[in-house]
């Protein structure tokens, strides 16, 4: 189980609790603005782009090569960028904060 905080482009903050599945699925099923998850999580659409808070980067882990290649061509990409469909919910993610990139 993990509590995950999303900050959207209008500076709203929402904390959601997830048991399993991906962070993208958690965000989409709760209507988090700016996370559309168009491809359903297969790493093909980049509509699940988030920036991991500075202190949480280690918890969030690193992007795979395919994910990194996808991010490279995204607008608004930073060192802390992740596609959150590639982040599986687990205890390890508890307490992290993600800023939605669009």
């Amino acid at each position: 189980m993990a509590k995950i905080t999303f900050i959207t482009s209008d500076n709203e903050s929402v904390t959601l609790e997830g048991q399993s599945g991906s962070v993208m699925e958690l965000a989409v099923s709760n209507g988090v603005k700016g996370i559309d998850g168009d491809c359903g999580g297969v790493c093909s659409c980049a509509t699940c782009h988030v920036h991991v808070a500075e202190n949480d980067v280690a918890k969030a882990g690193e992007a795979s090569e395919i994910e990194a290649d996808m991010l490279e061509l995204e607008d608004n990409v930073t060192e802390a960028s992740r596609l959150c469909c590639q982040m599986e919910i687990s205890d390890a993610l508890d307490g992290i904060t993600l800023t939605v990139a669009r």
Partner: protein
């Protein structure tokens, strides 16, 4: 070779040089074949532009047969983004449950109907009907309009023997003119009425702009959806175990859909015009010459996809570019994906097995490449559960 297979004709050229030249009415095109380059060029819109003479980014070029600009397809940023945000919410409507319920009712009815028949020619009797009926939901017009869309046949935009014969498209253009006139007199809740009342950069859209959006909605979602649906049926007929697996494992449907769409790549490629001297894969590209982004080749790139020529129904990471990449990514993708979700759900519920009887492949010819994109016809028999 199985009859539902789609071989990859680009492999050798993709490995060796990464590009290939084709002629097209004396306006040659450099096809870009590698996944990385396709995405890079699609992203670099200021170098590789979509905004040129109307029809020029299409291959074969439609410059000789039309002067209308398709919107947002043939517009670059920043105007592209303003058009796009105008229509984007409308094209997300397939995510609403009411839309999905209606689509489910349509597809269930169609599957029930064809299951009663001895056998069907699926391109016309299934895919064309499904596409035309679903389009009434996207436009938000009465179901009966689909009879008109069906009557245009599968080749409303280009006749089969001559892709540059514009004659067939006239029926569509007249239809659109009439519908715009009707909506002006009596606005409804359809896409045209929405566009008529919309604000673009502080003004109303012109009629030509509205036509540009509507024609594109007809054209972009016709062959692509018909091929996606027919190819899916052919695949399931050829791989009965896949149908069983999809019945037993509904949780893999999303991955299966993305994978089938990767494998089929219903749109082979799309062009761009270079706005300055540049290069791709070491090949010089002169200003004002054309390249094309070959989605179909990128989707089989062995540097990105393991076993690229196999359908792996639960492929987990699948960065395919079947719906394009970057600014111009497919506006109809939400609708297309929803069709696939509901089609799979209905098929596993109602159909025990699909039997293949015979087929005639639709093979495209691009320079040195022959690519199967779908079927001219395919005879199938649905066995209900």
């Amino acid at each position: 070779m199985k009859h539902s297979e789609h071989q990859d004709p680009f492999e050798k050229a993709r490995r060796e040089t990464g590009h290939s030249e084709i002629d097209d009415q004396n306006d040659p095109v450099t096809m870009v074949l590698r996944h990385k380059d396709v995405r890079k060029c699609a992203h670099a819109w200021s170098t590789f532009s979509s905004e040129d003479k109307p029809g020029r980014i299409v291959v074969p070029s439609e410059v000789g047969i039309r002067t209308d600009r398709q919107i947002p397809f043939e517009v670059d940023p920043p105007n592209h983004g303003d058009y796009r945000s105008l229509v984007e919410p409308w094209f997300k409507r397939p995510l609403e449950s009411d839309y999905q319920d209606k689509l489910k009712a349509q597809i269930s009815q169609l599957v029930d109907d064809v299951s009663q028949l001895d056998s069907i020619e699926a391109v016309n009797a299934f895919s064309l009907r499904l596409q035309s009926r679903a389009l009434t939901l996207l436009f938000n017009v009465p179901y009966e309009e689909s009879e008109i869309f069906v009557s245009w046949g599968t080749h409303v935009f280009r006749s089969e023997d001559d892709p540059l014969d514009s004659g067939k498209a006239q029926a569509l253009y007249h239809y659109i003119d009439d519908k715009i006139a009707e909506a002006e007199k009596a606005p409804g809740k359809d896409l045209i009425s929405m566009l008529l009342s919309a604000e673009f950069q502080g003004r109303k859209l012109t009629k030509d702009e509205i036509k540009g959006v509507i024609i594109l909605t007809f054209a972009g979602g016709r062959d692509t959806v018909i091929n996606m649906v027919t190819n899916t049926l052919a695949y399931l007929a050829d791989n009965p175990k896949a149908l069983t697996r999809l019945r037993e494992e509904p949780e893999i449907h999303n991955k299966a859909i993305e994978e089938l769409i990767r494998y089929f790549s219903p749109l082979t490629h799309m062009g761009r015009v270079a706005k300055k001297d540049t290069e791709v894969c070491g090949k010089p590209i002169a200003e004002d010459s054309r390249i094309s982004l070959c989605w179909a080749s990128a989707n089989r790139d062995e540097k990105v996809f393991e076993n690229p020529n196999e359908v792996v129904l639960d492929r987990k990471i699948n960065p395919h570019v079947s719906f394009g990449f970057g600014q111009h990514n497919c506006l109809g993708a939400t609708h297309a994906r929803q069709i696939m979700h509901i089609l799979l759900r209905v098929l596993v519920e109602k159909v025990e097995k699909i039997e293949h009887i015979n087929q005639k492949d639709h093979v495209e010819h691009w320079g040195e490449f022959d690519r199967k994109v779908g079927y001219h016809s395919i005879e199938l028999k649905f066995h209900p559960r």
